[in-house]
């Protein structure tokens, strides 16, 4: 039994490292593709970048706003319920900055982007591959790595950064509105407390997170999108794309937070 367990762990470990090596090759193929960057005409990737930004950013706005409002409200409900009412206006802003701006804003935004756009990217590429569209791009002399991956990374960075800012704003505003139902805090005092709590480290942390998520989400999802060798493998690899991107997002979130706030 123990031998079987060890064999199983060894096998899983070998698979894990093979996966890492394969992903490394994918990354190196992207760097390799930059050789043809000077031949790239931006008009050919403009539409892809715009469509991806619209889908990842603009179309996700209603969901982002809705969840941010609920989350901001929930935090305030818990705070006003469990913390003393006296002096609450002083730490409410601090609480929102710590929970929403530093952690939940970037994290929840990334989760929404992975579930909406990441799965869509992986499925689209996998389907294109099975329908030989990727092959037809290659034989047209189009560098598929540059043509498919690059505009999606650019679009994701722009979209995720914008969505995080909007998420934070709506979360703060939603929190304030809900706090009015239990305790009155003047608007100027609330926002002053927010501004006082907000540091340059929070801004840089948000920038770094949105940049890393913007690169990692399309990169991992594109990698798994290119993997299926037949139609029936598409759902398997799309599922892997979403799950593994989520795991990476959580790890990156912890690492960046540890770097800035530990």
């Amino acid at each position: 039994m123990i031998q079987g367990l060890i064999r199983g762990i060894t096998k899983k470990g070998a698979l894990f490292f093979r996966g890492i090596r394969d992903f490394g090759r994918f990354i190196s193929s992207i760097f390799n593709s930059f050789q043809s960057f000077r031949y790239l005409r931006f008009r050919s990737i403009y539409t892809i970048a715009v469509n991806q930004t619209r889908f990842t950013g603009f179309d996700a706005l209603p969901l982002i706003i809705f969840i941010a409002l609920l989350l901001g409200g929930t935090i305030i409900i818990q705070a006003t319920k469990n913390f003393p009412k006296f002096g609450i206006e002083e730490f409410l802003g601090n609480l929102l900055v710590i929970i929403i701006a530093r952690e939940l804003g970037p994290l929840v935004t990334a989760l929404i982007v992975v579930s909406r756009s990441g799965s869509a990217i992986a499925t689209e590429i996998a389907t294109q591959k099975q329908k030989k569209e990727i092959q037809s791009l290659e034989v047209l002399g189009i560098d598929t790595t540059l043509y498919i991956v690059f505009p999606r990374i650019v679009a994701s960075i722009i979209s995720i950064f914008s969505l995080i800012i909007i998420f934070d704003m709506v979360g703060f505003f939603g929190g304030y509105l809900l706090s009015l139902t239990t305790v009155y805090i003047p608007l100027d005092i609330f926002f002053q407390s927010l501004l006082d709590s907000f540091t340059i480290a929070d801004l840089i942390g948000t920038l770094i997170k949105s940049f890393l998520y913007g690169i990692l989400i399309p990169l991992i999802c594109c990698y798994y999108g290119f993997k299926p060798e037949s139609d029936f493998q598409i759902p398997i690899f799309v599922s892997k794309a979403v799950v593994r991107t989520l795991v990476v997002i959580f790890i990156v979130n912890v690492l960046v937070s540890a770097l800035f706030y530990f």
Binding site: S36, Y39, S44, Q128, E133, S136, E138, G141
Partner: protein
Amino acid sequence: MGQEERLRFDEVTCFGENSISLIDFSLTLGEGENLVIFGPENSGISLICPLVVGSIADYEGAIYYRGQSIKDFNYVELHNYRTRLGYLQAGYGLINNMTVEENILLPLRYHSDLSSADALRKVDELIKELRLEHCRNLRPVDLLKYETLNTAYARAIALNPDIILLEHALETQCLINAQVYLASIRKRIFRQGSSVIVVTYEPERYSHFADSFIMLYKGNKVFEGDRDAFLEQKNPYLKQYMEASLEGPMKIV
């Protein structure tokens, strides 16, 4: 033989997937020449176009484009070389989220120095030539088979390639509707000097204008000749193939 050698296979041996192979295969294609390569399934004909475009890099022998071995092309040179080829692949490979117009425009947008207005003018010419005006804003899923063929062909020739590769283009097509496409190929061969390689299971569809024919069986060349030799069908392999007979030198397993 045309004025200038465009493509040469020198004793190419290649092993593809599913035990498909090509053994010591040689050919020379000159400017304005056209060649039909055919043979039964698993004969190695499916390896020809991928070898020409450089999708298969693992082979023995050499393939030369205008005297340069394509194995020696670096990453950028390979991409640039592909712009000199017009490859209409089996299954057509149109991009499904693009309209007919956008599909044809794609190589022009990516590779050419034409302004957007000039590129669109070029697309207009191709759409008119291939009679696609009525479906220019449709996506591939809404197209008829011949419209799909004509769109894929228009995209393949948009950059005025030196060599046009047509892979199983007519296999599922209506003979009447495909005449527009065939007329366009003839025009390109006779007026513009394009060289054409046709890979097909139905060589007779090209017999009225093809210069030469090559038949493969189990990776080997079993027939090579001009149009007259093809039509005479004296070769036993060719005769069996054209008659679709089970009796003859080819063994159907």
